[in-house]
């Protein structure tokens, strides 16, 4: 560049320091560059820094965290089926639901510890109680809930201490719904657009998804004569999940777009088809043992697909600056800023 004509613009001799004034003829901003190879929001014109993301995407491993969202829901809603089965005299329903809840929560705890950067320090989760941290609240919830499900399952298997087992089953059913829905707050309480913007409906999506997963497990494992509540829960859960999910995507605006793109799109589509199909099959043909198993498998898979779809949509929305910049620009414009 030597020999070029970049001038110093009136600062000869004296060092300008912090009072230096840049050229009065400032340049125009470059707009809409660096959008990368994915034509995600073709119409939105916005500036970015070489297309780099504004946010840092969550460092979580999909299998651990999306898997945890799924298993936590499965466990929480299974505890409800377990308590219901116990209270209404359906041991064939209660037993697998108890075992399912205990197994799912054990696996999910393993996934959570595995995902930590310092797994040996997992007990630091119980160092403080912070209502502002959904992860802190969730840790304490799980610390109360997991022993209850394990107690319920252990007494079921052992066939002893039935009173203790009943108490644990009912207590687990009280905490179970919170375990199933707090995970929505866990995701929403971030700057990730596709997670935060859905905070009103996401807990209901997860509640429905938890219900279909637990109903699916019961349909697959419970004799048809005692699986009536599971069939009805499958239908009600599917309606809640799919309805809330539709409503969420409609209301989110631009931040809903990642649900319809890439890996998230495939997962979410699969989730909707499997959940709706499984629920219809359970309702119409749930008294056929083999078809009930097929319906249960579809519901279990559908619930998992939904959680992974939501997870991947969030990551995608964090990786693309459009989802951060464009809605914030629109917000400023609406305020007249």
């Amino acid at each position: 560049m030597s020999g070029s004509d970049v001038t110093r613009d009136g600062v000869r001799g004296a060092r300008p320091g912090r009072e230096a004034v840049p050229g009065a003829h400032a340049g125009r901003r470059r707009r809409g560059h660096g959008r990368g190879e994915r034509p995600v929001v073709p119409d939105a014109e916005f500036a970015s820094y070489y297309g780099t993301p504004v946010l840092t995407k969550p460092p979580w491993k999909p299998l651990d965290i999306a898997g945890y969202l799924y298993l936590g829901g499965l466990a929480g809603a299974s505890s409800l089926l377990a308590a219901g089965g116990q209270l209404t005299g359906r041991p064939g329903l209660a037993a697998p639901a108890k075992l399912g809840a205990a197994g799912a929560v054990s696996l999910s705890l393993a996934a959570l510890v595995h995902d930590l950067g310092r797994p040996a320090r997992f007990l630091n989760m119980l160092r403080v109680i912070k209502p502002t941290s959904p992860m802190s609240v969730g840790s304490w919830l799980l610390a109360g809930y997991a022993p209850l499900t394990l107690t319920a399952a252990a007494t079921e298997v052992a066939g002893r201490y039935r009173l203790l087992g009943s108490a644990a089953t009912v207590a687990a059913a009280v905490l179970g719904p919170a375990v199933a829905t707090y995970t929505a707050v866990l995701l929403s309480d971030t700057a990730v657009p596709a997670w935060h913007e859905g905070y009103r409906e996401l807990p209901f999506v997860f509640a429905g998804s938890a219900a279909t997963a637990a109903a699916g497990l019961a349909l697959a494992a419970v004799p048809v004569v005692q699986a009536g509540p599971a069939r009805r829960l499958a239908v009600l859960g599917a309606a809640l999940e799919l309805g809330a999910f539709r409503a969420m995507r409609r209301r989110m605006g631009l931040a809903a777009e990642p649900f319809g793109q890439g890996r998230a799109r495939v997962l979410v589509r699969a989730a909707e088809l499997l959940t709706a199909g499984g629920a219809v099959l359970a309702l119409c043909r749930g008294r056929d043992r083999r078809l009930a198993m097929a319906a249960g498998t579809a519901l279990l898979t559908g619930s998992a697909a939904l959680r992974f779809g939501v997870f991947h949509a969030g990551v995608a929305s964090a990786e693309d600056p459009a989802y951060t910049v464009v809605p914030q620009r629109e917000r400023l414009a609406a305020r007249g800023g």
């Binding site: 820094y49 070489y50 630091n124 719904p177 700057a191 935060h196 600056p321």
Partner: protein, 319 residues
Amino acid sequence: MGEEDGMGDGAEDRGNALYGPQPDVAGASGYPDAPPRVGFFTDTSVCIGCKACEVACKEWNAIPADGLALTGMSYDNTRGLGADAWRHVAFVEQRGPFGGPEPSAAQDDAGDVDVFTAAARISPASPDGGTGLRWLMASDVCKHCTHAACLDVCPTGSLFRTEFGTVVVQEDICNGCGYCVPACPYGVIDRREDDGRVWKCTLCYDRLGVGLEPACATSCPTDSIQFGPLEELRERARARVAQLHAAGATDARLYGESPDDGVGGAGAFFLLLDEPEVYGLPPDPVVTTRDLPAMWRQAALAAVSLTALAAGSFARRRR
């Protein structure tokens, strides 16, 4: 890091609103006789892109090397803030209203760039000697928000508010859950992969404790990075904007200085010469925990709904 003070453990949010102005941020975190809140005013209009701040920060805080790669993003090969980059100098090349031919047009058939040809094509295109090019440089850093989402969501109490009103990670507590990473509306904090814990600017907490300025501000040769009590910096910044506007630089604007913004005002704020997103900053960040009470309410409603669905599934049999 100097976290001898047990004050930060679990007391971060006592009496503190989740959103809106908070004039006594240290007091709200449990420091009755806190010193004045300190911060950075980064005046990008005098940044010369020397990266002394990046180097001083790395040296003082013993941040490990994070690889060497040429990004093609002007002189920026740091890319952005992260676990191993607590200061980051952004470089933005802009073509002004008098724009000449693109230097990159000087490619030969083999695709190689002849830098001399390219340089020759950057010619003064306007009578006043301007080149039609503008080079923006800005040293980015953790904003040390008044309402810090990273601190709010940290489940271990590892992130805490210092007596200076800054936000610091206690590395002996952090278990690497990574929740603070997506919570930050600026994408500042990140997990160090081989270490497992999260790291970010401490505003040189150890130096503040003994009356020193942070390393980056000390090393900045043009006073682009100014350190001091936040109130004083805000006043100085407003005067600086007025000075620039009077000189015709009407693009100058402050970013993050207002206590009325979405994070209650940043402890580290900036004077920019273009829109924030041009520098990779969010134009209107809002702390995610503003909506947390509503989120808990919705989750509670959803939990009750789930219980009702299950109850309904059992009850309908009795018809």
